[in-house]
């Protein structure tokens, strides 16, 4: 029993080697994990939002969805990216306005307005929406997103949220 508390020289070296190895290993592994995850953490998902000026409301015809495209710049790492975003402005009457996102709620492709059919159709998986963005057929799980908007001095502004 008397010897059991003593650590032999060999065991001491073994333990110290293990400890040093663990410290060095953790010292490089933990920063490496942070390094790889960094862009995912920093971008932080959604949150950035901006009012987009769509010009005078009267420019948009009554009764039919009108597409509006705008470009936003973003800096990803060392590169400036230009992303084109689109939406549809639908004026039902002088006062009634709807703004629909053109992003399909299925898997994020862009829908197009088919005037002849009176439908929004997504080219990727044949998702079909009606004028108000409600799903008619296909895989989309929910209607097209309605964007928040305001009219100031006759100009239409849309709240665009990133991510």
């Amino acid at each position: 029993m008397g010897k059991s508390h003593e650590v032999s020289r060999r065991d001491f070296v073994k333990i110290m080697t293990g400890v040093a190895g663990t410290v060095i290993g953790a010292g490089i592994t933990l920063p490496a994990v942070g390094y790889v995850l960094d862009p995912a953490i920093k971008s932080g998902g959604s949150g950035k939002e901006d009012w987009i000026d769509l010009g005078p409301l009267e420019n948009y015809p009554i009764g039919e969805p009108t597409p509006f495209n705008f470009t936003r710049t973003q800096i990803n790492g060392w590169e400036k990216t230009f992303s084109t975003n689109g939406l549809f402005v639908l004026r039902k009457s002088d006062t009634e306005v709807e703004v629909l996102s053109n992003v399909c709620t299925h898997l994020g492709c862009r829908v197009a307005w088919h005037e002849d059919k009176g439908e929004f159709i997504c080219p990727c998986h044949d998702g079909v929406f009606d004028e108000d963005g409600n799903v008619i057929s296909g895989p989309p799980p929910r209607p097209l997103d309605h964007l928040e908007f305001k009219v100031e001095d006759g100009n239409l502004f849309v709240l665009f949220k990133e991510g």
């Binding site: 490089i28 920063p31 490496a32 942070g34 390094y35 790889v36 960094d38 862009p39 953490i41 790492g77 060392w78 590169e79």
Partner: protein, 219 residues
């Protein structure tokens, strides 16, 4: 329980035999000078690991190489650490290889039956220097650009085939995007694979012959 699992695995995988023949083999009484090869191997492992992580952000094109490294240094968490380790381990590795070579020379360990270990070692040295040369261009800054200009110019001094060697290294007559991408390919795949293969042979020979004892007066 744990020892039962271990025994089950050992019966099938042979850890104990492996341990005995690889790590527990009889060796002459050495000094710290005998650890330089292991130090080099450790540095090589670090280079492979940090190199893999650098590849997550580095872009081997003249448009983006410099910017992507600036991003690694200033934009990414711990990017400075990963690149710092890669940078300094590279320098240390060359130093360790040379010290290792000197030790083997001074203790006459290259003699029979270990001549081939030495010969493989020469190729290991050259491959390591090749990795240093190709890696130096990748940051694509003024220093690396002109260092590579000079190095490929020197290679061109070989009589007869010199200009052809320069063009082969540069992928054309001038330093260009082609130079950067071929140095990149050499740096991340060709040379490391060569080095890993040669290290395998080197280690096999070391385990086969054991380490040499220090020469005595009678030698």
């Amino acid at each position: 329980m744990a020892s039962k699992i271990y025994q089950w695995l050992d019966e099938r995988l042979g850890f104990d035999d492996l341990y005995k023949s690889l790590l527990d083999r009889p060796e002459p009484h050495g000094t710290w000078w005998n650890t330089l090869g292991s130090a080099t191997l450790f540095l090589f492992t670090m280079q492979v690991l940090t190199g893999i992580f650098l590849l997550v952000y580095y872009t081997p094109s003249p448009d983006h190489a410099y910017d992507s490294i600036q991003y690694i240094m200033n934009g990414v968490a711990f990017g400075w650490l990963i690149r710092g380790i890669h940078h300094w381990s590279a320098t240390l590795m060359v130093l360790m290889v040379f010290l290792h070579m000197l030790r083997v020379f001074v203790t006459a360990s290259y003699k029979y039956p270990r001549e081939l270990t030495w010969v493989v070692g020469v190729f290991l040295l050259l491959t390591t220097l090749g990795l240093g040369l190709t890696g130096y261009l990748l940051p694509w800054n003024q220093r690396s650009y002109f260092a590579t200009t000079v190095a490929t110019e020197i290679a061109g001094l070989v009589p007869g085939i010199g200009p052809f060697i320069t063009r082969t290294m540069r992928g054309g007559t001038d330093l260009s995007a082609l130079t950067l991408s071929r140095f990149f390919a050499a740096h991340v795949w060709m040379l490391p694979l060569t080095l890993a293969g040669l290290i395998g042979v080197h280690l096999y020979l070391i385990i086969r012959h054991g380490e040499s004892d220090y020469p005595t007066e009678e030698d």
